[in-house]
Amino acid sequence: MSTQTAARPRAVAAEVLQRARGRYLSPLASLVLFVVMFAAVIARYDFASPTQVFLNLLVDNAYLVVLAVGMTFVILTGGIDLSVGSVVALSTVIVATTLKAGWPMPLAVATVLVVGPALGLLMGLVIEYFDVQPFIVTLAGMFLARGLCYVISVDTLPINDPTLREVGLNYVYLYEDKFIRWTVVIAIVVVVIAVYTLHQTRFGRTVYAVGGNRQSAQLMGLHASRARVSVYAISGFCAALAGLLLAVQKLSGYSLNGIGLELDAIAAAVIGGVLLSGGVGFVLGSVIGVLVLGTIQTFVTAANLDSYWTRIMTGVLLLVFVLVQRLVVRKPG
C-alpha cells in the first residue's frame, strides 16, 4: 500500500525531471536565475514595493518583450534578424513625423505597422529566394532602416497626439496602487498570440520543423519557404510595434533610438534558452530573458553604478548561460 502511494509521486517526479532534462531545462534555469537575481536585488536594496518593482520591469521593457518575441520566431528557423533595432528607430521617426505633418493617428500607426513587415518581407524574400545569408541581408536592412531614419529626420520629434499620450502616460491599476501601463497590456497580448501561433497552429509547427531540419521539413511537404519568409515579416511587424511602444513610452521619435537593441533581443533569446542553431526554444523563455536583462538594469540603477556595468554584467551573464547550456544540454544530434 504505502509503496504504491509513494511510487506515484515518485513517478510523477521522475517524469517532471525527464521533461525538465529535455527542452524545458534552459528556460527553467533562466527562470530560476531570474527569481534568484530578482530576490537578491529586492533584498539588497529594500524597495518599498517588490510587486511594483516587478511590474516596472514589464513597464520599462515592454518594447523589448515584443522585440524578443519577433526575434524568437526568426531564431527558431535558424536565421537571425539584425535589423530590428533600426526598424524600431524608423518606426518612432515615422510615427512622430507623420503626426507632425497632420496625419490622423490611426493612419500614422497603420503606416508604421505596414512599413516594418514590408521591410521584413523584403528581406525574407531575398534570403529565401536568392539564398543570401540572413546575417548579411538583415545587416543591409539595418543600414537601410537606420539610413532612412536619418533621411526623414535627425531631430528629436515630440509626439503630442492625445490618444498616444494617454496610452503612454495612463496607469492601468491592477489592484490598490499597483499599476502597469497600456504598453504592457499590448506586449502581453503579443506574447499570448505568439505562444498560440507557435504551439497550436500549423505555421508554428512548420517554424520549429524548418529550424530543426530544413530538408526534412521540405520533404515532409511543409511550406518551408513560406515559413522562412514569414518569420522575417513577423519580426518586422514586432519591431514596428516595439517602435510604437517605445515612441509612446518616450513620447518622441528619434533616429538614434534603439542602437544595439538587436543585440539585447538576441541576448534575451539566448539567455531564455533559444538555440541560435534553430529549432529549440520558447517565446516565454525569451520573455524571461528580457526580465533577466531588466533586472540587471534595475540593479545597476539601484546600485548607482555607471551605465557601462550593465553591458559588462550582461556579457558575463550571457557567458554563464552559454556555458551552462553547453555543459548541461547536450547538442542535439
Binding site: F130, A140, L148
Partner: protein
C-alpha cells in the same frame, strides 16, 4: 581567358569599385589626382587608403575566421579596448612623448588583444560554443570594459611617436595602409604558399572530416581567433593614434559589421571554406570609397547608410548564384533549354548547406583567385 576572367568571383567587386571610382571622377574631376605635399602623397585616393586601413586590417582577420566557419563579432570591442589601454597607459606615463612609453603601451594593448582572442578561441574550440554566441559575449561586455578602463571619459593624449601609426607617413604613403598591406602580404604568403590556407579551408568545409584526416582542427581555430583579435588590436591602435584619443564609446563602432561586409562583398561565403584575401581587400576599399563618395558628392552624410545598404544588397545579389541563374536564364531564353531546368535547381536549393559555392570556373581557380 576571357571566360575565366568573367567567371572570377573577384569580377563583381572589382567592377563595383571601378564604378564607384568612375562616379567620383564624374562628380569631382580632380578625384584621381595625387600630388606631393610636405614630402608625402596627397589626394582623395590616399585618403581612402588611410581611412580604410583599420577596416581592411580587421577584415583580413575576419576572413580567416569566416573561412574556418566561424564569425567574430567582438572585433569592435577589441578595437575599443586596445585603444583605451594604449591611451590610458600613455596618459598616465611620466613622459608621454618617449618612444619607450609608446612601445610599452602598444605592447600592453596588443597583449590584451591576444588574450581576448585566446578567450574567443577557447570558447569556440574547447567549449564548442557557436562562434556567433561566443563572440557576442565579448561584443556585449567588451565596450563596457573599455569604458571601465577609460572611466567613461575620452582620454586625449599628446604623443608624437604614437601619432605615427595612425597619422604618420613613410615612403610617401600613410603608415596605416603600409601596415595593413604588409599584413595582407604576410597572410597571403602564409596561407597560399604553405599548406595553412588549405588546412584552414578544410576545417571550414568539414571540421569532422578534416579532424579525421589528421588536421589539428583545434589549434587552427584557436590561431584564427587570436590572429583576428590581434588585427583588431592593431586597428584599435591606428584609430586611437589617428585622433590621438581613446573614445571607448565610438572607436570601432560597427567595425565588425563593416569587416564582415567587406569579407562577403569580397566573395568569401559566410558558410566557411574557400576564402579570398584579395576579395576582402577589394570589399574594404569599396566600403571606404562609398563613404568618401558620399562626402565628396555633397550628399548629406545622413544618407551614407542608405547608399551603403543599397550597394551591399546589389553586390550580394550579383554574387548570389541563384540571382545570377535567374538573370542569365532571362537572357538566354531564346537558347534551347538546358537539360536541368527549374525543378532541378529548386530542389537543390532546398539543401540547407551548400558547402562550396557553385561557380562555373575551373576547379583550381581557388588558388588563382587569391594570390596575385
Amino acid at each position: 581567358m576571357m571566360k575565366r576572367f568573367a567567371a572570377s568571383p573577384l569580377l563583381w567587386p572589382a567592377l563595383a569599385l571601378v564604378a564607384l571610382l568612375a562616379v567620383n571622377v564624374v562628380l569631382t574631376p580632380s578625384f584621381l589626382s595625387i600630388r606631393v605635399q610636405d614630402g608625402h602623397l596627397f589626394g582623395s585616393l590616399v585618403d581612402i587608403l588611410r581611412n580604410g586601413a583599420p577596416t581592411m586590417l580587421v577584415a583580413l582577420g575576419m576572413t580567416l575566421v569566416i573561412a574556418s566557419r566561424g564569425i567574430d563579432l567582438s572585433v569592435g570591442a577589441v578595437v575599443a579596448v586596445s585603444g583605451a589601454l594604449a591611451c590610458a597607459h600613455i596618459a598616465s606615463a611620466t613622459d608621454p612623448a618617449s618612444a619607450g612609453t609608446v612601445i610599452t603601451a602598444m605592447g600592453i594593448a596588443l597583449g590584451v588583444a591576444v588574450g581576448l582572442g585566446l578567450w574567443n578561441g577557447m570558447l569556440v574550440s574547447v567549449f564548442g560554443v557557436q562562434p556567433i554566441i561566443a563572440t557576442l559575449v565579448l561584443m556585449t561586455a567588451g565596450r563596457g570594459i573599455a569604458l571601465l578602463i577609460t572611466d567613461g571619459q575620452i582620454v586625449t593624449i599628446t604623443s608624437a611617436p604614437f601619432k605615427v601609426l595612425g597619422a604618420g607617413y613613410a615612403f610617401g604613403l600613410p603608415v596605416a595602409i603600409l601596415v595593413s598591406l604588409s599584413v595582407f602580404a604576410v597572410v597571403g604568403l602564409l596561407t597560399r604558399r604553405t599548406a595553412l590556407g588549405m588546412l584552414l579551408e578544410s576545417v571550414g568545409i568539414n571540421p569532422e572530416a578534416s579532424r579525421l584526416a589528421g588536421v589539428r582542427h583545434r589549434s587552427i581555430v584557436f590561431a584564427v581567433y587570436v590572429f583576428c583579435a590581434l588585427c583588431a588590436g592593431v586597428a584599435g591602435l591606428m584609430i586611437a593614434s589617428n585622433i590621438s584619443a581613446a573614445d571607448a564609446n565610438n572607436a570601432g563602432l560597427w567595425i565588425e559589421m563593416d569587416a564582415i561586409l567587406a569579407v562577403v562583398i569580397g566573395g568569401t561565403s559566410l558558410l566557411g571554406g574557400r576564402f579570398s584575401l584579395t576579395g576582402t581587400i577589394l570589399g574594404a576599399l569599396i566600403i571606404q570609397t562609398l563613404t568618401t563618395t558620399v562626402y565628396t558628392a555633397g550628399i548629406t552624410p545622413e544618407t551614407t547608410l542608405v547608399f551603403k545598404a543599397l550597394v551591399v544588397i546589389a553586390v550580394c545579389l550579383l554574387q548570389a548564384p541563384k540571382f545570377r541563374a535567374v538573370v542569365s536564364r532571362g537572357r538566354s531564353r531564346k537558347i534551347p533549354r538546358r537539360p536541368n531546368p527549374a525543378p532541378g535547381s529548386a530542389s537543390s536549393g532546398a539543401q540547407p548547406r551548400p558547402i562550396a559555392e557553385p561557380t562555373s570556373g575551373p576547379a583550381p581557380s581557388a588558388s588563382v583567385m587569391v594570390t596575385k
